[in-house]
């Protein structure tokens, strides 16, 4: 058992996903079996192995510093579930 209810709730909070008690219980079972299963990687000796983050062997492509004509704010805001004038709108944030 890698996870307990407490940990799964903490992880869910980090991921901003609210879980019902049943969901949390269900996921706890699944995630524990998945984490037990991936444990087999410990059989592999990786002491002198470099981690592979991307399969591409080329270097980072770089673009010129040009500000191009881009989308109007209308286009950017088009799909927003809540907007006002030229702003995205979200529930009040208290800093």
């Amino acid at each position: 058992m890698k996870l307990d209810t407490n940990t799964i709730n903490k992880i869910a909070k980090l991921a901003r996903i609210r879980l019902s008690e049943d969901e949390a219980k269900d996921l706890l079972k699944d995630m524990n079996s998945i984490l037990d299963w991936v444990e087999q990687l410990n059989e592999v000796n990786t002491d002198s192995v470099e981690p592979l983050a991307n399969i591409s062997s080329s270097t980072l492509p770089q673009r010129k510093d040009e500000a191009k004509d881009i989308n109007s704010s209308d286009e950017i805001l088009k799909n927003s579930p809540d907007k006002l004038e030229d702003y995205f709108v979200v529930p009040k944030v208290v800093e």
């Binding site: 909070k13 980090l14 901003r16 983050a53 991307n54 591409s56 080329s58 270097t59 980072l60 492509p61 770089q62 673009r63 010129k64 510093d65 040009e66 500000a67 191009k68 881009i70 989308n71 109007s72 704010s73 950017i76 805001l77 006002l84 004038e85 030229d86 702003y87 995205f88 709108v89 979200v90 529930p91 009040k92 944030v93 208290v94 800093e95």
Partner: protein, 491 residues
């Protein structure tokens, strides 16, 4: 100079480290081609990438990389040939991707140092831990509506350089000097516009206090300060707050704080209460950044003269004091102006101190009164040079020169022309001055008697009267000599 602060029970030492966020001067954003211009309509400079539309991908701006490398060189730092862009994951309204692309384990620039200069002529090195490139977030507006927060993504994705110092700073003043120095280096390099009001340069300040010799205390971080004045105020307040807690037996809570500029107090940030776990990992949309040594060397050679170099030159070549030189070089525009003045005439090299005084006192106050930057000064540096020369050569007196400077400021004219048109040229012709002195002595016989009977102080009176008669144009030195000799002859 001791930086120790007296509490009620002990003396305390302040320990400060700064994270400076400097907006990279570039046309377009770090990973998208939307404009970085300030003050546009909300959400009008937002590309699909900046708004984190599904399937949008980052492509890095070459110029921003060069700017970071240049800055690293300016901070005497190690440029890393290999660096990685990571994702820093957290949720916030103005963070559209749900992560910020930043650099974590492998920053583009490593350890460096800058020196700060004190009034007493001493200086101190502040060590830099690293500089890395990252994306700015958008802007949340909390005060437009009682129940809503408005989000503007124009800044979202703008390139920032985060410059992290070691906790080498020991007072609010040192913090001020340090940030001024960084700002000055950035502006010399032209890698950041240094505009603190517009938020192009801002700092997070980590503060703790300890009894001298003790280990570091628990620190608090004050977020997002955007003026040197506020940084100093916030530090002074926070240091007092921490000392008070410790001296009354309390414990400092490690906290992220906000500084309220109207109350002058710090308070914990509510939204950051829960512990963060940013889950950094290499951004799989990007590849490692490799910079070859040849390109770095090329950039080293293209670095313009920096404040410290100029300062050394001013001290060695122009004989200025370390402090004068650092004041002059702090602002590149001022230093450039000074250089232009000196360059306008070879002979001014020996009058550098006078030039500095004219710039930092008379010119500065005129500029300040009229709210003009030195870059837009109506007084051509060449003309200021001429003015100093006119003073040196006794063509005009220092007092008249001040009036001439005002006239130069208003009319943008050559001082020589002003002097000629207004007949302000100093009288050095001894016979002319002798005539004036004779007249004055004749008109004030009683005073002459008093002088001769021992009232030496009256000399000043005769000088004043004679100067007045010459309309201020008599050369004061010659005038003095003539007066003295004439009066002693009467004895």
């Amino acid at each position: 100079m001791s930086n120790l602060i007296k509490g009620n029970k002990h003396e305390w030492e302040t320990v400060i480290g700064l994270e400076i966020h400097a907006q990279v001067k570039s046309n377009s954003k770090l990973f998208s081609n939307s404009s970085t211009a300030f003050g546009s309509r909300p959400n009008s400079q937002v590309s699909l990438v900046d708004a984190a539309m599904p399937g949008m991908l980052p492509v890095i701006n070459k110029y921003c990389i060069e700017q970071a490398v240049k800055t690293g060189i300016g901070l005497n730092a190690k440029i890393n040939n290999y660096s990685i862009f990571d994702r820093k994951n957290y949720f916030y309204a103005d963070l559209p991707q749900g992560y910020q692309i930043s650099q974590y384990k492998y920053p583009i620039v490593g350890e460096g140092k800058v020196s700060i200069d004190f009034k007493d002529g001493s200086s101190k090195d502040i060590r830099i831990v690293r500089l890395h490139l990252e994306q700015d977030a958008g802007k949340s507006l909390h005060d437009q509506n009682p129940t809503k927060t408005y989000v503007d993504l124009n800044r979202s994705g703008v390139a920032l350089m985060e410059i992290v110092s070691e906790p080498d700073i020991r007072s609010a003043d040192e913090a001020g000097l340090y940030i001024s120095k960084i700002r000055s280096i950035l502006m010399y390099l032209d890698t950041c516009d240094g505009n603190m009001q517009e938020g192009s340069l801002r700092a997070d300040v980590n503060i703790s206090v300890r009894k001298p010799g003790d280990d570091y205390g628990i620190r608090c971080e004050i977020k997002n300060l955007n003026s040197i004045k506020f940084i100093k105020q916030a530090i002074n307040y926070e240091v007092r707050r921490q000392i008070e807690i410790l001296e009354t037996g309390g414990v400092i809570e490690q906290n992220t704080l906000l500084f309220n500029t109207s109350t002058g107090k710090t308070k914990p940030m509510r939204s950051k209460e829960e512990a963060h776990d940013y889950r950094y990992f290499p951004d799989p949309d990007l590849l490692p950044l490799e910079i070859n040594q040849k390109d770095i060397d090329k950039m080293v050679n293209s670095i313009p003269e920096l404040p410290d170099e100029r300062k050394r030159k001013y001290v060695v070549v122009y004989n200025l004091s370390n402090y004068d030189a650092s004041v002059l070089t702090a602002d590149k525009s001022v230093s450039d102006y000074f250089d232009s003045v000196i360059k306008s005439d070879q002979s001014l090299k020996n009058s550098a101190k006078i030039v500095v005084n004219w710039i930092t006192s008379e010119l500065f106050s005129l500029l300040k009164e009229n709210n003009i930057d030195i870059d837009n000064s109506p007084i051509n540096p060449k003309y200021l040079g001429k003015l100093v020369k006119l003073i040196k050569e006794n063509i005009i007196s220092g007092k008249i020169a001040k009036d001439v400077l005002i006239e130069m400021f208003n009319s943008k004219q050559d001082p020589e022309i002003i002097i000629k048109n207004k007949g302000l040229k100093q009288v050095t012709d001894t016979s002319e001055i002798e005539n004036i002195v004779d007249e004055v002595l004749k008109e004030n016989k009683k005073m002459v008697e008093q002088y001769l009977s021992g009232k030496d102080k009256l000399l000043g009176f005769f000088v004043g009267q004679s100067m007045k008669k010459s309309k201020g144009k008599a050369n004061p030195k010659i005038l003095n000599e003539i007066l003295k000799s004439k009066l002693s002859n009467k004895n």
